[in-house]
Point group: C2
Chain length 146, copies 2
C-alpha cells in the first residue's frame, strides 16, 4: 500500500465511516467503484477519501442521501452558480426546523403527562389516561413521530 492508496479499513478509520457503510455507498452509487489490488481488495485514492468525508459530514448534518448525491454533483462543477447548493442547504434547514418544532410540542405533551405523577396505581395513572383518551391531550397537531 504505498502512497495515495488506502484500504477500506484505512478509509474507515480516517473518516469514521464503517467499512460496511463504505461498501454500501459504493453499491448505491455515491462512491465510485475503486481500483482493486491483485487480491481483489479495494484501493482508494485521497480524492475518494475526501468524497467520503464530504458524504459523512453531510450525513452528520442530516442531509438525506439523495440531497448528498445532488451536492456531490454540484461540487464536481465548481464553475457553476451555487444557488442550487444553497437551496439544498436551505431545504435541509427548513426540514430541521420543522422537526425541532414538532419535537418541542411532543416534549411539552410528555412533560404535562409527567407533571401529574403521583406514585399511585395504573388506574389513576395520568400517562396511561392521556394515551387512552386523546381529548385529554392539549396539543392536537402532532403528526408523524419525526
Amino acid at each position: 500500500m504505498r502512497d495515495g492508496r488506502l484500504t477500506i479499513g484505512q478509509m474507515s478509520r480516517e473518516t469514521g465511516c464503517k467499512v460496511q457503510t463504505i461498501r454500501y455507498y459504493e453499491q448505491i452509487g455515491l462512491l465510485p467503484e475503486p481500483e482493486r489490488s491483485s487480491g481483489n481488495q479495494r484501493l482508494y485514492s485521497n480524492r475518494d477519501r475526501d468524497r467520503l468525508a464530504f458524504i459523512r459530514h453531510a450525513r452528520e448534518l442530516g442531509f438525506p442521501l439523495d440531497a448528498i448525491r445532488e451536492l456531490l454533483k454540484l461540487a464536481d462543477h465548481p464553475s457553476q452558480p451555487c444557488e442550487a447548493a444553497d437551496a439544498i442547504a436551505a431545504a435541509q434547514l427548513e426540514a430541521v426546523e420543522i422537526r425541532i418544532a414538532r419535537l418541542q410540542s411532543l416534549k411539552q405533551e410528555l412533560e404535562r403527562m409527567l407533571a401529574h405523577r403521583h406514585g399511585g396505581k395504573i388506574a389513576d395513572c395520568r400517562v396511561i389516561e392521556v394515551l387512552a383518551d386523546h381529548s385529554k391531550c392539549s396539543a392536537d397537531d402532532h403528526v408523524a413521530p419525526s
Copy 2:
C-alpha cells in the same frame, strides 16, 4: 355491521390509522386477532378501537412500538403501581430532549453555512466548502443524524 362491530375501514376512519397499518399491528401482535365475518373480513369491537387509538396516540408522541407494547400491558393491569408507565414516559421525554438538542446544533451549523451566501460560483460556495472540510465546521459533536 350492527352495533359494536367495526370493519377495518371504519377503524381506520375513526382512529386515523391506515388500513394496512392496522393489519400490520395485528401481525406484530399489538392488536389481537379480531373476529371474522362469514366472508372472512375483520370485525372489531369498540374495545379494539380504543386500543388502536391508544397505540396511535402513543405513536404520535413518538413512543416506539416496543414501549407501546409495555404501556398496553400496564394499561391492562389497572391495580398495579404506575411507576413503570411513568418511567417509560420519562425515557421517551429524555429521548425527545436529546433529539431536540442534536437538531438544534445541526440547525446552527446549517444557519452558519447559509449566512455566507453570496450568489457566486460553486468554487466559492460556503455550503460545499464546509461540507468538504470538516475543520471549517464549528460544532464537532454531532453524531448520527437523529
